[in-house]
C-alpha cells in the first residue's frame, strides 16, 4: 500500500513539472524514479524510451505504465499513469475553462521565455545521461552516429531508425561476440 502511494506521488511530481513534454520527462524520471527511488536501472529505462518511440502514445504514459507495473504490478501501472497525468490534465481543464482570459496573460509568456531554454538544458542532460550508458564500445558509437545521420540528414522517421538500429545491433554484436 505504501509502495502504491509512493508510486502515485512520485509520478505526480514527475507529471507536475514535466514542462516541454516528450524527452524533457526523461530527465525528470531519471532523477525522481531512477536516482532517488532506484525502482529500475537506467539501462532498462532507456529500453522503455525506445519502446515508447516505437509504440503510439506519450513517453510519459508509456514509462509510468511500464515502471508502475515493474514495481508493483497492475495497480502500480494504474497509479503511475493516473499520477503522471493528473496534474497536467487538471491544469489543462482549468485552462480550457478560462481559455480566453489565459491566452492574453502576459506573465505566462514571460515565464515561458525563461523556461523554454531551460527545457533545452533538461533534454540535453537526459541525452548526456543516456549517452553515458549507451555508448559502451565502438559498435555503439557507429550505430549512434548512423542513427543520427539517418534522422538528421536522411530524415528517416524515428520508428524506422530504432528498428534499423536494433537490427544493426543484432547483426554486429552477434558477429563479433
Amino acid at each position: 500500500m505504501t509502495l502504491l502511494i509512493n508510486i502515485f506521488l512520485s509520478f505526480l511530481k514527475v507529471g507536475a513539472f514535466s514542462f516541454g513534454g516528450g524527452y524533457a520527462i526523461v530527465s525528470f524520471i531519471q532523477k525522481e524514479i531512477i536516482q532517488n527511488k532506484g525502482w529500475i536501472d537506467l539501462k532498462e529505462f532507456i529500453d522503455i524510451v525506445a519502446i515508447a518511440e516505437m509504440t503510439p502514445g506519450p513517453i510519459a504514459v508509456n514509462s509510468s505504465t511500464y515502471i508502475g507495473y515493474k514495481v508493483a504490478g497492475f495497480w502500480g501501472s494504474i497509479l503511475g499513469t493516473v499520477g503522471v497525468l493528473l496534474i497536467p490534465s487538471v491544469l489543462a481543464l482549468i485552462l480550457s475553462i478560462y481559455f480566453n482570459k489565459f491566452k492574453s496573460q502576459k506573465w505566462v509568456k514571460w515565464a515561458l521565455n525563461g523556461m523554454r531554454p531551460a527545457v533545452l538544458g533538461i533534454i540535453a542532460s537526459a541525452g548526456f545521461t543516456i549517452g553515458k550508458v549507451s555508448f559502451t564500445d565502438y559498435i555503439s558509437v557507429i550505430i549512434g552516429f548512423s542513427a543520427f545521420i539517418g534522422v538528421y540528414k536522411l530524415k528517416i522517421n524515428p520508428f524506422l531508425v530504432i528498428f534499423l538500429s536494433g537490427a544493426l545491433g543484432l547483426i554486429l554484436y552477434s558477429v563479433i561476440i
Partner: protein, 155 residues
C-alpha cells in the same frame, strides 16, 4: 500524435475549427505533461464539459497503457535473452541520437542568443554536474523569465 488528433476532431468529426485547435495547442503547450492528453482535455471540455475532458484523457491514454502493459509482461520474460540484448544494445545509442536530434531542433527553434545559451547551459550544468532536480531548473528559469525576459521573443 497531434496530427492524428487534429484529423479526427477537426476534419473527420468537425467538433472544433482548425483555428481553435491550433489555439488550443499553443496554450496547452505551456502546461506540463504530454501535449496529446492536454489537447484532448481541451477538446473534451469544449464538447461536453469536465466529464468530456475526463473521457478524452482516459481514451487518449488507454491504448498506450494497454500496449505497454502487454509489452512489460512479455519483455520481462525475454529481457535476458542474448538476441534481445543485442537488439537493445543497438537501440540504446539510437535513442541517444534521437535525443541529440531533438536538442538540435530545439536550438534551431529557440535561436542562439546570449540569454538562451546562458539559461540552457545553466540548467544543463545544474542537472548533470551539480545533480540538482530538474524541477528546480523549471522554477528558477520561470522566475527569471517572469522578471527579466518580458521583452524576449514571444511565440
Amino acid at each position: 500524435m497531434i496530427p492524428v488528433i487534429q484529423k479526427e476532431v477537426v476534419d473527420t468529426k468537425k467538433w472544433i475549427s482548425q483555428e481553435e485547435f491550433l489555439d488550443a495547442i499553443a496554450v496547452t503547450n505551456s502546461l506540463p505533461g504530454p501535449l496529446a492528453t492536454n489537447a484532448a482535455t481541451y477538446v473534451g471540455y469544449k464538447l461536453a464539459g469536465p466529464l468530456g475532458s475526463l473521457a478524452a484523457v482516459f481514451a487518449t491514454a488507454l491504448p498506450s497503457f494497454l500496449i505497454i502493459l502487454v509489452i512489460v509482461i512479455f519483455f520481462s520474460t525475454v529481457k535476458d535473452n542474448i538476441i534481445i540484448q543485442n537488439i537493445f544494445n543497438g537501440i540504446r545509442p539510437a535513442v541517444s541520437a534521437l535525443i541529440f536530434f531533438a536538442v538540435i531542433n530545439l536550438i534551431k527553434f529557440l535561436g542562439f542568443n546570449k540569454t538562451n545559451i546562458l539559461i540552457a547551459l545553466g540548467s544543463f550544468i545544474a542537472i548533470t554536474v551539480l545533480n540538482i532536480h530538474p524541477f528546480i531548473a523549471i522554477l528558477v528559469s520561470g522566475t527569471i523569465g517572469f522578471f527579466f525576459l518580458r521583452k524576449g521573443r514571444i511565440k
